[in-house]
């Protein structure tokens, strides 16, 4: 049991060290080249452990596969820094410009929406709760002997009412 635990601990250590060994033995094409960068005890362990051999071979195979991909680190060049500085200058000018109404509007849209919603809520609450006022106007009606209305003495509110009352008057 103790031997098994020792072996597992060695496997863990070997596999952790493989990463560093992988960097150190850049271009290693065989297990032995990778294992050569390990301390003696781990080298012996790797020789006897199938799992660790597979782990080391995976590093070599994966590296060979990934070598088909180009490095993009070389994409930059002397042209890049001036381009960045020009972009910074343009952005700085944009930020420094006094904001006009149309650029402010989208920025304030959310706040304006909230303010409008609150105002609408308050106004509708006030309209709903205000004391009811008597809007009906008492009209004094003069009647003739038969009791029929003769003249509507209620003061017309506007020209339309005058015209309506004239139109309704019996000829």
């Amino acid at each position: 049991m103790g031997l098994l635990n020792k072996s597992r601990a060695e496997c863990r250590e070997f596999q952790m060290r493989l990463e560093d060994a992988g960097s150190a033995a850049d271009g290693a094409k065989e297990f032995s080249e990778l294992a050569a960068t390990m301390p003696g005890a781990l080298k012996d362990h790797a020789a006897a452990c199938a799992d660790c051999r597979v782990a080391a071979e995976n590093i070599i195979k994966a590296r060979a596969l990934l070598s088909a991909l180009p490095s993009l680190a070389g994409m930059g060049g002397p042209w890049f820094a001036p381009r960045v500085m020009a972009a910074i200058a343009a952005r700085g000018a944009e930020l420094g410009r006094a904001p006009d109404t149309w650029t402010l509007l989208p920025k304030l849209a959310a706040r304006l929406t909230w303010a409008s919603a609150i105002a609408l809520l308050l106004a509708s609450g006030w309209l709903y709760q205000r004391p009811a006022t008597n809007t009906a106007t008492t009209k004094s009606v003069v009647t003739d002997i038969t009791g029929e209305p003769v003249v509507d003495t209620a003061t017309p509110a506007n020209n339309d009412e005058v015209l309506v009352s004239l139109a309704e008057r019996p000829r």
């Binding site: 596999q15 952790m16 493989l18 990463e19 560093d20 960097s23 850049d26 782990a55 071979e57 995976n58 590093i59 195979k61 994966a62 590296r63 596969l65 990934l66 070598s67 088909a68 991909l69 180009p70 490095s71 993009l72 680190a73 070389g74 994409m75 930059g76 060049g77 890049f80 820094a81 001036p82 381009r83 960045v84 500085m85 972009a87 910074i88 952005r91 930020l95």
Partner: protein, 216 residues
């Protein structure tokens, strides 16, 4: 405006991190701190120097996530513009490079979310002429295998990587293609170095098993 002393870029075009001379890291970090301090005082030349020093690593990280050249260029520019306008808030508790890589990763993932597309580009997505340009730009007449063979190989690898988790794919590309150290990958992805090692180990096993299953 004070002149900024020219310093050697950390990564020359196409030169992996592992090729950097030993001992350059600490000196580079100190120079970065000084350049950042100057850039925070609105010294544009200092910032331009920072761009020159870090552009290749930013391209590498963005390239690991996006793989589409035109996207990588746009994002790299966007990252530096964002860094410039946020620089005053950067307190230098972390290294400038770590901060910059985090901006890069976030910008890339934001872009992918917005575009809702798979990050990988296959050569079959490119026209023959575009693909030829890509290859010739990289090889510059090197005596490697035939162009069409390389295209097929590259497409095969892209498809293999397509089956991996986004982070695992990025780790593998940064480690095996761009030459990042495990510690650098851990910084980029905000993970523990041992976690990176374990995930790299599993990701490799997965792609190698896939290849075995296909009998390639």
């Amino acid at each position: 405006m004070p002149r900024v002393p020219k310093v050697e870029p950390l990564g020359s075009p196409g030169v992996p991190a592992s090729a950097k001379p030993p001992g350059s890291k600490a000196a580079g970090a100190a120079e970065d701190r000084e350049l950042v301090r100057r850039a925070q005082n609105e010294d544009q030349e200092a910032f331009e120097e920072l761009v020159r020093r870090h552009q290749h690593r930013v391209f590498a990280v963005a390239g690991g996530i996006l793989r589409r050249r035109e996207d990588v260029e746009d994002i790299a520019q966007q990252v530096f513009v964002k860094a410039y306008f946020s620089l005053k808030r950067f307190d230098q508790r972390a290294a400038f490079s770590t901060w910059l890589y985090k901006i890069t990763v976030n910008e890339c993932w934001d872009m992918l979310r917005k575009k809702k597309v798979r990050p990988l580009v296959y050569e079959s997505d490119l026209s023959e002429e575009q693909a030829r340009q890509v290859i010739t730009a990289e090889e510059k007449g090197g005596g490697g295998p035939d162009i069409s063979e390389r295209l097929v190989a590259r497409e095969r690898v892209e498809r293999l990587l397509d089956g991996l988790d986004e982070r695992d794919r990025l780790m593998l590309i940064l480690k095996e293609v761009e030459g990042f150290a495990v510690e650098e990958i851990a910084q980029v992805l905000d993970l523990n170095a041992n976690t990176v090692k374990v995930r790299l180990f599993r990701a490799r096993r997965r792609i190698v098993n896939k290849v075995r299953k296909r009998g390639e």
